[in-house]
Symmetry: C2
């Protein structure tokens, strides 16, 4: 990571300000690519975690494809110069209109339901498509930090329906050439992935025309102190092992696909904020109000998620116990609680860390704010 003078940035561009470090993004991409030790691999960047054009540009320069889930994202990635062959579409509830667009553009698509397969096969013949696999609840992240889990969802097609979708595809001379899976976001545990990898490959082997297994992502990163890094190398090796076995079985190379987002972007972005007021709560405790909150960063209020908060310009002053809250009327809008920080003053700056993914893209400006600015270094 390059040295960044955040005070200078704050004075030049104002706060709150998302600041991204492109070099860190590229380092992350290379680290994942190196761990993906299998020749027939493809990495799609999960655009949903940050769709800013400058981010997309870094992604494209580094040779990755993009995973999208809406027509709006399709427009964004095309504008950013991605070719149709570098785009993979996976969502739920695809309408007939959107399906027509995706077919016309020849975008790689993974279908979520029997009904979507039916729709596709009515609209197109002599085409390929993938199917999303229903991941059983037994393969589920249990940690509190995991978000968007499969506990209450009916995403994907159940194994019992594979025969009927194969039949639909066959009748329309389409082939089901891939499977896609996903069970949760921001998972740090190894165990669910250890069950997930063989499960996906077992499901995949129901499809005679198989060309790829798309494991999606869900790879977590350590946000809170004491959390161990997610061992992506180990998990990717496991994916490769199972896909190699599958290739052997099919007697042709099966493509291994992953769709990381958070792992590439999270630690490459910080939210630079200014302290607007410090309220004395009791002898040892202060509440810092900053010029940002839910309006700019939804994760703490939405998920209760932890983000490290650090001071800018170390002062070697005595650490003090602070709660850090948004300066809004939302009473529960805290960015962090019981954080030991070197004593700060009104006007000082703070950095909220690891917000490159699911930060700016979730900003609503609520309440009473505008969407925050983003700066790319």
């Amino acid at each position: 990571m390059v040295h960044i003078d955040y005070s200078q940035l704050a004075e030049k561009y104002g706060t709150p300000l998302y600041v991204y470090d492109s070099k860190q993004i590229e380092d992350n991409i290379r680290r994942i690519a190196r761990s993906l030790n299998y020749r027939h691999s493809t990495m799609y960047f999960a655009v949903m975690c940050n769709n800013h054009k400058n981010i997309l540009s870094v992604i494209r320069r580094n040779g990755l494809g993009v995973q999208i889930n809406s027509v709006h994202e399709l427009q964004l990635v095309k504008k950013a110069g991605f070719k149709n062959s570098a785009i993979s579409f996976t969502s739920t509830g695809i309408s007939t209109d959107l399906m027509k667009t995706l077919i016309r553009e020849g975008i790689r698509i993974n279908l979520d339901s029997v009904e979507e397969v039916d729709k596709f096969c009515t609209l197109a013949q002599n085409r390929k498509f993938g199917v999303r696999i229903r991941i059983p609840k037994s393969i589920s992240a249990r940690s509190l930090q995991a978000t968007n889990t499969n506990r209450h969802s009916h995403i994907g097609i159940e194994e019992k329906d594979f025969k009927s979708v194969l039949k639909m595809a066959d009748a329309a001379r389409n082939s089901i050439t891939g499977v896609h899976g996903y069970f949760a976001s921001n998972v740090l545990e190894m165990t669910p992935f250890q069950h997930y990898a063989p499960y996906m490959c077992t499901m995949a082997s129901s499809f005679p025309d198989l060309e790829y297994v798309n494991f999606g992502s869900g790879f977590g990163i350590p946000y809170a102190p004491g959390q161990k890094a997610f061992d992506i190398k180990k998990i990717l090796a496991l994916f490769a092992l199972h896909v190699k076995a599958l290739s052997h079985k099919y007697d042709r190379p099966i493509e291994l696909i992953i769709e990381p987002g958070r792992t590439i972007l999270a630690d490459a972005g910080s939210l630079l904020v200014q302290i607007t007021n410090i309220k004395h709560l009791n002898s040892n405790k202060y509440e810092i109000a900053i010029d940002a909150g839910y309006a700019e960063l939804a994760r703490p209020l939405l998920y209760g998620s932890y983000h490290a908060i650090t001071t800018v310009n170390t002062t070697h002053r005595q650490p003090v116990n602070y709660d850090i809250r948004g300066n809004t009327v939302l009473q529960n809008d805290f960015l962090g609680k019981n954080r030991m920080l070197e004593k700060v003053r009104e006007g000082d700056y703070l950095l909220i860390r690891k917000v490159g993914a699911y930060g700016a893209v979730m900003a609503s400006g609520f309440p009473g704010k505008e969407i925050p600015k983003q700066l790319f270094l």
Copy 2:
């Protein structure tokens, strides 16, 4: 409410579409005004619940003031034609810069902390201001539907600090002329308000220069079936009773202020959406995917809140048990579960009800969408 042909609107403007009924807004304002049976009353519309210029225009035409909590909202309401005298500012963590702006513009302001009072008194003399009162946790909404409660907050100034803020004000020849209170949003229970009204007036009587008691809002509305309407008439009568007693004590009329938002707007807005896919889950159960979700309406995912969902164009078909989910990759993005609706088809429209407040203003477009359009009838 006027009759609205939603199918026609959907075809003309596209979906997802927020649709507002101005007449309903005006009816709501009149109903509250009629319940506010006290001569020296002021109603500020809580801009945070919806700051669209057309809404602000209806509010202004109906003679209400506005309650704002940020400099961005200040710009919006001034642009919408509100005079400074019709604006009240209440927030937390007000920076020195923002404080200067508010003082320069002569905006009515309620200060949240001893530190803010100190800041104000350093910057201005011979001025009036109000203070926010710390509401004890014993006065708290207990219902699940209440949001933004005071359970974990340190909003407002504690009674033990009243003497010191009075002294600061006195030293700068400023007067503390009002108190402001707030303990939660969307409260349906009467009991907390029954304790809150006398508590506020007791706290207010510590301030010899008192001119107003601002009760804020927090008034709930019934979202889910079987919920009783919040008896706003009864609560406003209680507020008036206590403020009248205070007026008697001070031997001058004390102003009673309320700041409703949801009560004015919620049931005047619907989100019009289109069904993009219907997935068969099991013999009796279907999952509807629509072209909206967390991207357009955050409340269900953020708060677990209930919104009635109705079909457009009654067909007298048999009711079916539906889950209604956003067509995104967010697995837990459900707009409603186990809703009995007349059998619907892909392409049909649905209405998500009572989203006029805290609907569009909280929309982030996440994941992969744009901010929804809004239509004003």
